[in-house]
Amino acid sequence: MNPVVAGITYRALLGRRRIVLLLLLPLGLLGLAVLLRLTGNADQRYATLLMENFALGTMLPLLGLIVGTGVIAPEIDDGTVIHLMSKPISRPVIAQTKFLVAASLLVVFAALPTYLAVWLLVRNEDGMAAGFAAGSLVAGVAYAAVFLLLGVVTRHAVTIGVVYALVWESLVGNFVPGARKFSIQQWGRTVADQISTSVYLKAEIALGFAAPALVIATVVAVVWAGLRLRAFSLTGDE
């Protein structure tokens, strides 16, 4: 972890109007929670629906994509990353720092609002708020790592990320049960289910698979991103 790298990365992501983009989805989530509360639908069933479909199913992967690729891909595109990489700092440390920045932003902009939204609906009944927040947290960390790697290895990180999040996790995952096994979102649900005792929350993937999968995906992605940065090449226009 390098504080200077982290500082510049935070400023790049939160500076100017960028922060609005990050606030939009969590505000939407809280807005929906308030709406459900006002219409008298603040029960565990609706809380689960809102969390699974919006918080974990839409907001988290999208924020993960914005933040995970955002910590590095724009810098690689415009060449500013050279400023960090032409310094006596090991490239894996740069990758790790970028990952920590992305993960911390997902805690603030995804896991925390998730906790608040559930709390608005059902408080922490049957550990639901804690469960969904924890699921969102671990899945957010994994998304941060995977999308960071994507931002390092390809210039089309956002496109590929959208295809993964929307097509693979949502569409294919809905129709092909086997695909759900390899979905960060589903691993997050497993963790949420583990903590919450609510009957509405039913995860499909066993914790014995989901927990190691989360750890492996995160660690492998961060290490790999570091190795790719070590061999970062400037090809230029010649």
Partner: protein, 304 residues
């Protein structure tokens, strides 16, 4: 410190960008001269550890530079692309470089570097409000902040106005005189001549020539020159010129003569003499290949 390239090559698929280059860059100012697309940036990126040589080696005082972040304690790099965070102020940018270098007194180092490039006054403005020349100077300040022994600059004068260019040239000369190893690339001979004590010429990925600016000038003036001449009697002039050894060949065209002069100086004296003694009036004498591209193509053919 010395950067040594030994049979360094770089290719992308079938395209060879840098072909078997062996050179040593030592203390003082070296200019890397070549036309656009000659592979200058590729070569510079290999020296800066931002590109692996496909063949051969690139070392800094004996240590390979590729995948070795420790070299950046001794190397300062000024890339050609903007590469400056627009949302930081000039001060923040240079200070971040000092901190990333892990200097004991980053504030003092940043202050000194900004003073060196005379950017103290606008240092608290955001980089995005700077002119191209100011950005370039801030980049140089960031590259200099740790007082590196080696400074690599990729096309540093591009887009600068004449005054900024003069200033940066002075700065580079001063630093070179101070014993630093400085290499900068450029496609403009005059720029290189004015700053560099030593010139390496790269053409089509190959190391075409090497020497001080006098050597390079000589190479460029002693090459065969092609002249277009129109006169009152082209045929008689052609016949007379061919009698002298300085003319390698004469082509008689409907619109005048094309003379290949193998000895430039001798030919330059011969032509007016012949015209006077033969009573031929010269309407036009123009060099047909004075542009830098043809100079470079001569060099590359010569080295082939």
């Amino acid at each position: 410190m010395k950067i040594v390239l030994s049979q360094a090559s770089r290719w992308y698929g079938n395209v060879v960008a840098v072909n078997d280059v062996t050179m040593t860059i030592g203390p003082g100012v070296t200019g890397l001269l070549g036309p656009n697309g000659a592979g200058k940036s590729t070569l510079l990126h290999m020296m800066a550890g931002f590109l692996a040589p496909s063949g051969g080696t690139v070392t800094l005082d004996g240590t390979p530079v590729w995948k070795n972040h420790h070299i950046y304690r001794n190397i300062g790099l000024v890339p050609e692309r903007e590469g400056v965070y627009g949302f930081l102020t000039g001060w923040q940018f240079v200070l971040s470089a000092a901190k990333l270098q892990g200097l004991p007194d980053p504030v003092e180092a940043a202050r000194k570097a900004l003073a060196t490039v005379e950017m103290e006054e606008p240092k608290d403005r955001r980089v995005e409000t700077y002119s191209k020349g100011m950005r370039q100077r801030v980049k140089v300040a960031a590259a200099l902040v740790h007082d590196p022994a080696v400074l690599l600059l990729d096309e540093p004068f591009n887009g600068m106005d004449p005054r900024q260019r003069m200033h940066l040239m002075d700065l580079i000369r001063t630093m070179g005189a101070g014993g630093r190893t400085i290499l900068f690339s450029s496609h403009i001979l005059e720029e290189v001549e004015r700053v560099a004590q030593h010139i390496e010429v790269l053409v089509a990925g190959r190391h075409a020539a090497s020497g001080d600016f006098r050597d390079i000038r000589r190479l460029m003036t002693d090459r065969p020159h092609l002249f277009r001449i129109r006169s009152s009697d082209d045929r008689r002039l052609a016949a007379r010129l061919m009698l002298d050894s300085s003319a390698g060949g004469v082509t008689l065209r409907p619109d005048g003569l094309e003379v290949q002069a193998v000895e430039f100086r001798r030919f330059a004296r011969l032509l007016p003499q012949v015209a006077r003694t033969e009573g031929i009036r010269l309407h036009e004498v123009s060099p047909a290949d004075e542009d830098l591209e043809s100079v470079f193509s001569y060099l590359i053919n010569r080295s082939a």
